[in-house]
Symmetry: C2
Subunit: 201 residues, 2 copies
């Protein structure tokens, strides 16, 4: 099997969520695995001097409208969360903890479940107790999860993951790297598809 | 005929150029006219607090790569201009002057020609004399054009056009407004197409 697709996302990114609903099907079409990398846009935006889209004058209203319209266009279930944006450290750490204890498959299952909880069910995934409930519903063994989310090793691991992502040039969500080629945004999935198909673009 | 499509663009915007190569064909498919609105991203970015994509840390290199890749993907001729970005006041004013003197069709012909000159032929369209040459090649009567570009009425008109665009919510290039619906970016032309087809999205 060819190299895995590195998929970077922040849990408060609607376009990251849209991408998460499509990435595995796209990867499977070309016999690729997906490595799920939850990151934090906060430190990334500090480096790039960016502001979250929805907080930029004029762009904010458009962005919320575009989230809903893009969801309809791509037939993705979506409900605007009441709390938005939210801190996503706990969610990212939960996924890293599950990955370290139970492997990548369980971790990606949890990631997808967290995204659905936030962008469909309106659950505030910034609260660690909600994350434990979400993990339980995804049939994940949550013994130690609540402590794990707050443990120093997992905190340090997330920091290192974000640093590594930035070192690889990741500056937004979703962000895909495969075979040395980078794609920013769900709206580049058409080009990603062509690249996976042809091996060039 | 249904209402025209308002098409906003800055002449130094590669995505604006890509959109300019597609907008008329798309409009014709749904029996619409296009109103070409050259604007300036400078004052817009002052309002939104934005920085040109290519000047943002980390995003710059990606952006230049994405321009070339997107051009190949959409089979649009494109060569990275040596001078980039450039001031586009003169180009925008040239189009406004031609529109006021010779009508909208001549103005849109000139706009397309200016984009090609910059993004295919590598001509520095920031220089008024180059604009006169480009207009001549487009079979436009250029008597008075050089003076027109620097005339107060045309300068004021461009300011007013930019203010009006911002008042309508335009914050980037390309930006399309039709039947009250706004679309930012060449990568929303798939949704624009669906909206024109179905009257909703």
């Amino acid at each position: 099997m060819a190299a895995a697709i590195d998929f970077y996302f922040d849990f408060s990114s609607p376009y990251g969520y849209f991408a998460a609903t499509h990435i595995e099907q796209l990867a499977a079409k070309y016999d690729r695995d997906v490595e799920w990398h939850p990151i934090l846009l906060g430190p990334v935006f500090k480096t790039t001097g960016s502001t979250p889209l929805t907080e930029v004058p004029m762009k904010g209203d458009y962005a919320f409208h575009d989230f809903e319209r893009s969801a309809r266009f791509h037939r993705i279930p979506y409900r605007r969360p009441e709390a938005f944006p939210i801190p996503t450290q706990a969610a990212a750490r939960a996924v890293l903890w599950v990955r370290s204890k139970q492997g990548a498959d369980k971790a990606s299952q949890l990631a997808k479940r967290i995204y659905t909880a936030y962008f469909v069910d309106g659950i505030n995934i910034g609260e660690p107790m909600r994350l434990v409930e979400i993990a339980q519903q995804a049939n994940i063994d949550t013994t130690g999860l609540a402590d794990g989310i707050n443990s120093l090793p997992i905190k340090n691991q997330l920091k290192a993951e974000v640093d590594l992502a930035m070192a690889r040039g990741v500056f937004g969500s979703p962000f895909v790297i495969v075979d040395g080629e980078s794609f920013w945004g769900f709206d580049r999935f058409d080009q990603l598809d062509a690249f996976l198909r042809d091996g060039k673009i």
